[in-house]
């Protein structure tokens, strides 16, 4: 039960019903999955739920043996799909509540320390706004690179040519920088952008 077990080894053990293997995989990749989820939805509670659901899927239906994706990439794909579904459901559920929730989020109310809340909320708002202003593909490019995925994996997840990722990534970075620099106002488009197509994942 070495902590140096590779993902593949841990997945194999998980398939044998080894709960400890699941725990190791969870602790190893949770941060990555959470960050992608949070970057996508911009809400802590929602991101936690998405990350947890993603790992529950890993537990219940892990990637098949021989899957071409690495485990982090597979997890990112699951959490992105789930995030889209969640946002879609949320949008349908109650737009008014969404607006209220968005205001709550922008107020930085989830931070207990008032000073930290001010600083964090301002920066968070700017990052959130900047991400929200990006085209969806650019946002995903940044989130997936931030998650440590290789270009080939990003290309596979986003259905892009691997050779184009560098160019697209540079543009995405520039677009984010521009948006971040502009995001000193109060405009938010946080969730309004996400009109996602149904996602299928088998």
């Amino acid at each position: 039960m070495s902590t140096a077990d590779t993902d593949v080894q841990l997945l194999h053990r998980l398939a044998q019903g080894d709960a400890a293997a699941f725990e190791q995989l969870f602790l190893r990749h949770y941060g990555t999955v959470y960050r992608v989820a949070y970057g996508l939805v911009g809400r802590r509670d929602m991101a936690e739920d998405l990350a947890q659901d993603t790992f529950l899927q890993l537990y219940r239906r892990p990637p098949p043996h021989g899957d071409s994706l690495s485990l982090p990439a597979w997890l990112c794909r699951v959490v992105l799909n789930r995030g889209h579904n969640a946002l879609r459901t949320e949008r349908r559920a109650n737009s008014r509540e969404e607006q209220v929730a968005l205001q709550d989020r922008l107020s930085g109310g989830e931070w207990s320390d008032p000073e930290e809340a001010v600083l964090r909320s301002e920066q968070q708002r700017r990052v959130r706004d900047a991400l929200a202003q990006l085209p969806e593909r650019q946002m995903k490019l940044l989130l997936l690179r931030d998650a440590g995925l290789h270009y080939a994996e990003i290309a596979q997840l986003l259905d892009l040519a691997a050779g184009s990722i560098g160019t697209l990534m540079a543009r995405a970075g520039r677009a984010f920088q521009d948006a971040y620099s502009r995001s000193d106002g109060t405009q938010t488009a946080a969730l309004a952008r996400v009109e996602c197509e149904p996602r299928l994942e088998i």
Binding site: Q16, G17, A19, E23, F26, L27, Y30, G31, Y34, R35, Y38, G39, R44, A47, E48, A51, Q52, D53, F55, L56, Q57, Y59, R60, R61, V78, N81, R82, N85, T89, R92, A93, R120, Q123, Q124, V127, R128, L142, L143, R145, D146, H150, Y151, G163, S164, I165, G166, T167, L168, M169, A170, G173, R174, F176, Q177, Y180, P198, R199, L200, E201, I202
Partner: protein, 487 residues
């Protein structure tokens, strides 16, 4: 400088994504090109800035706290209720084999809500492949240690299943469904409680689903059998609606892993009913005459559609039960109590175990419907029947259909010595009347023989009982008193 590096290549260089051959070329160029070096520096600074912003943006919570929550979600199962009456107290306690070393408690609890107007009984046994268990192995039966002395306090095992049945559980799962029909205005909804128990070997899951609408749709009977004839559904269930419509219900369930895959077939009328159900995504269905768009949700509640080409209207729906529960806002309970027997059962925290607290209930006869399943009744021998369900109308006590699915799946050794997947599915059905089932001998309708061919191993066993629905109260007799006047 000529032949400057293209921006995408520079970005890939900074991100460490260049092939060695390209890397050498880029490094060589950057050494002599100030412009490209400056561009590379800009890209590097941008990437670094974005990375720091994103890192600060989404500081994750403590993963160990999240892990604890995840583990709770993995094993959130309260035990279920079912009411089984038995005329045979000797049906209790048929303990597990002394050789067995089961790890988990599982079982069947008793519950009831007054007199039963009717009852639905389904049973299935699902077999899958693999080599037969070695007799020398100590089977990991879902249950508790066989030796009563060593049995942990408070842990029980269902006494209603025979040794024979239990002997097939060791590598398998037990699924337990309870269907409760609740009158609601002129329509009826079903509450489905479901528990999966596993031995933790293949799928160490244990969870329960309660879903008022998530697993039921309304269907036309003709469509059902058309569907059954067209596709090798593993299971088909039919019951009659009691809201006055002519629609029926069906669930096709394919069990792979521990996920549900439900399909529904619906008439036009039924589709309308489906659309009236409070599922926002289902409302996306479109009806164009008899051409009904098929909706299907994958286990992530994603939606896909395909046209039905003007044939029998079909509505497809599939979901993982837990996702459906999430959608419906269901939260698992960690304990429950049978109001009749007083049996309390709970789910041990963070462990996929259902712990039954003593005393284990003694079945009592139901005044309305009796299901007698003695320990020896669960014979698991014979052909490769792996699924059977019997459906009773709760109000009329009429058996609507019995559907039996035989499935043989697994591997055989091919000519070249390599495993070859084998699967055969046969679905049969026949009409029944309730009297058949009420006959004690016919109670064994829920008992099916399963012959496990050499080289195969049963991976899944299940049984389903319905909770009796309280009968309509009998109106009190109020005599009419008419004074007789004196002449």
């Amino acid at each position: 400088m000529t032949n400057c590096i293209e921006e995408g290549t520079l970005q890939a260089y900074i991100d460490g994504e260049l092939l060695p051959s390209e890397l050498e070329r880029v490094q060589s160029h950057l050494g002599g090109c100030a412009a490209c070096s400056a561009r590379a520096d800009d890209l590097r600074a941008t990437g670094s800035h974005i990375g720091s912003l994103l890192a600060a943006y989404a500081g994750p919570p403590d993963p160990r706290t999240a892990l604890a929550a995840a583990m709770r979600s993995i094993s959130p199962v309260p035990a279920t209720h079912a009411r089984i009456s038995s005329a045979s107290p000797s049906g209790l306690p048929a303990a597990v084999s002394p050789r067995a070393a089961p790890r988990r408690g599982w079982g069947l609890a008793m519950a009831g809500f007054g007199v039963a107007a009717a009852m639905l009984l389904a049973f299935w046994v699902s077999g899958m492949f693999q080599a037969a268990s070695s007799p020398a192995e100590s089977p990991q039966i879902n249950g508790v240690p066989a030796d009563p002395v060593s049995r942990p306090a408070g842990v029980g095992t269902p006494e209603n299943l025979s040794e024979t049945l239990k002997s097939f559980v060791p590598q398998g799962k037990v699924r337990h469904l309870v269907f409760e029909e609740v009158e609601e205005g002129t329509s009826r909804q079903k509450v489905i409680e479901e528990v999966w128990l596993t031995n933790g070997v293949d799928h160490p899951l244990l969870y329960r689903a309660v879903s008022p609408y998530g697993s039921w749709q309304l269907v036309g009977k003709d469509a059902v059998w058309t569907y059954l004839g067209e596709r090798p559904a593993v299971q088909g269930r039919i019951t009659r609606l009691v809201d006055g419509s002519a629609s029926d219900r069906v669930i096709f369930k394919t069990s792979y892993d521990l996920l549900h895959f439900d399909r529904y077939v619906a008439s036009d009328e039924s589709v309308n009913n489906i659309l009236a159900m409070p599922r926002a995504d289902t409302a996306a269905a479109t009806i164009d005459g008899r051409a009904v768009t098929v909706l299907e949700y994958d286990r992530d509640n994603a939606l896909r559609t395909w046209p039905n080409a003007g044939r029998t209207p079909i509505v497809g729906f599939s979901s993982l039960s837990t996702d459906a529960d999430t959608l419906l806002g269901w939260q698992p309970r960690l304990s429950a109590q049978d109001p009749n027997s007083g049996l309390t059962f709970r789910v041990a925290p963070s462990t996929p175990e259902v712990v039954y607290l003593p005393p284990f209930p003694t079945p009592t006869a139901s005044p309305a419907l009796r299901v007698d399943i003695p320990p020896g009744g669960w014979q698991v021998t014979g052909p490769e029947i792996v699924s059977c369900q019997v459906w009773l109308d709760s109000n009329t006590r009429q058996v609507l259909q019995q559907t039996t699915t035989r499935r043989l799946s697994g591997f055989r050794i091919g000519d070249n010595g390599t495993p070859v997947a084998v699967e055969q599915i046969i679905t049969e059905s026949r009409k029944l009347v309730v009297d058949e089932l009420l006959d004690p001998s016919e109670m064994r309708l829920g008992v099916f023989d399963l012959a496990v061919p050499e080289g195969y191993r049963v991976l899944e066993l299940g049984y389903t009982f319905a909770r009796p629905v309280p009968a309509e109260p009998t109106p009190a007799f109020v005599p009419t008193v008419t004074p007789i006047p004196y002449p």
